[in-house]
Symmetry: C2
Subunit: 204 residues, 2 copies
């Protein structure tokens, strides 16, 4: 009753879901259009009706990744006392890193340079920006409250982002031995950065 031979109806969605599953279980290089097609019971060229090529499918996957990340950050902020900038910044950083830890392959797809040059997939760029803005807003709030140094916002945000991104990638690639640091490496590193970014004239 729900399986018309042609006009499958749900092909793009199912294809993306299947791609996401194999991305999680294996890696992005393990994603094959033929395997996806076979798995959802369709011929391989059918996918080309919905995705220009393999990379476009990966880009679509990365887009959902950025939306998940954005939601993860927003959710965490909602659970946290917004008035306490230090707390908010620490927790958005921890939420960011936990996303990367939960979805290492997806995270690498989003950032690892696997998808061709910035600008090739406008919707992807927009999705990335949306996630970025959550971080930027939190930094801006920290500045307006007087907790963070009044340096240029792009500089402060780039610093914060570089830190959480670097920590995330080194962690998921296993380059950082030290889970033996108290309380957690991520928390300690973020604390160190936060203390250095504090505005000492006007303390919170």
């Amino acid at each position: 009753m729900s399986r018309p031979a042609y006009h499958h109806g749900d092909l793009p969605q199912q294809a993306l879901q299947q791609a996401l599953d194999t991305l999680r279980a294996e890696s992005d290089t393990a994603i094959s259009l033929r395997a996806i097609a076979k798995h959802i019971g369709v011929s391989a060229p059918a996918l080309y009706r919905h995705f220009a090529d393999r990379e476009s499918l990966l880009a679509e996957l990365a887009i959902t990744g950025f939306m998940l990340l954005r939601d993860r950050l927003r959710d965490r902020l909602r659970q946290v006392d917004q008035a306490d900038s230090r707390h908010a910044l620490l927790h958005i950083g921890l939420a960011y890193i936990s996303f990367a830890e939960d979805e290492p392959n997806l995270y690498r797809l989003m950032f690892g340079g696997r998808i061709l040059p910035k600008g090739a997939h406008p919707r992807l760029d927009e999705a990335g920006l949306e996630a970025f803005r959550v971080l930027e807003d939190t930094v801006a709030r920290g500045q307006s409250v007087g907790y963070l140094k009044p340096l240029p916002l792009p500089l402060m945000t780039a610093t914060a982002w570089s830190m959480v991104h670097g920590l995330s990638e080194l962690t998921i690639d296993g380059h950082l031995p030290g889970a033996d640091i108290e309380p957690t490496l991520a928390e300690s590193v973020l604390t160190l950065l936060l203390d250095g970014s504090r505005n000492e004239q006007q303390n919170q």
Copy 2:
């Protein structure tokens, strides 16, 4: 005179060089054993006498990448006043980032999680450690001189590495717009981190 049909003699070296060339010109996914073999005038299976598989060749490439990075960091330290910890730390960071900018594809191969799990290629792990130690030593010196906070060395090093790694990757992937920041984004970000890591009890 120098081309015996068999026993080419220099095959592994030339193969790696050719792979490095295409890595620089294209990307790691563009590296094909068949293309390499054809380019150096040999049959494809000949490569398997010298590399277990494609990934082993990529691992070899990453090893040379880590050696280049290590040398780049050491060279920069040699040009800098070692007594001035702040200067040394700033410059090792800048050297690190400039390496990533000069060799974006090689850098991504070294870190992007393209080579399977940590531990699969012992010589690669060792090469990575050697580069890491240059950074670690510089941080340790900064602490022993009293310039950096006396926090656990692994924590301080992880912080520094996360920062330069994050900044490098976001830069080469074009995620950071701001080359419009003075003097350079990298220098500003590193300065911010360094100021936060300074030991305020005992100033230099």
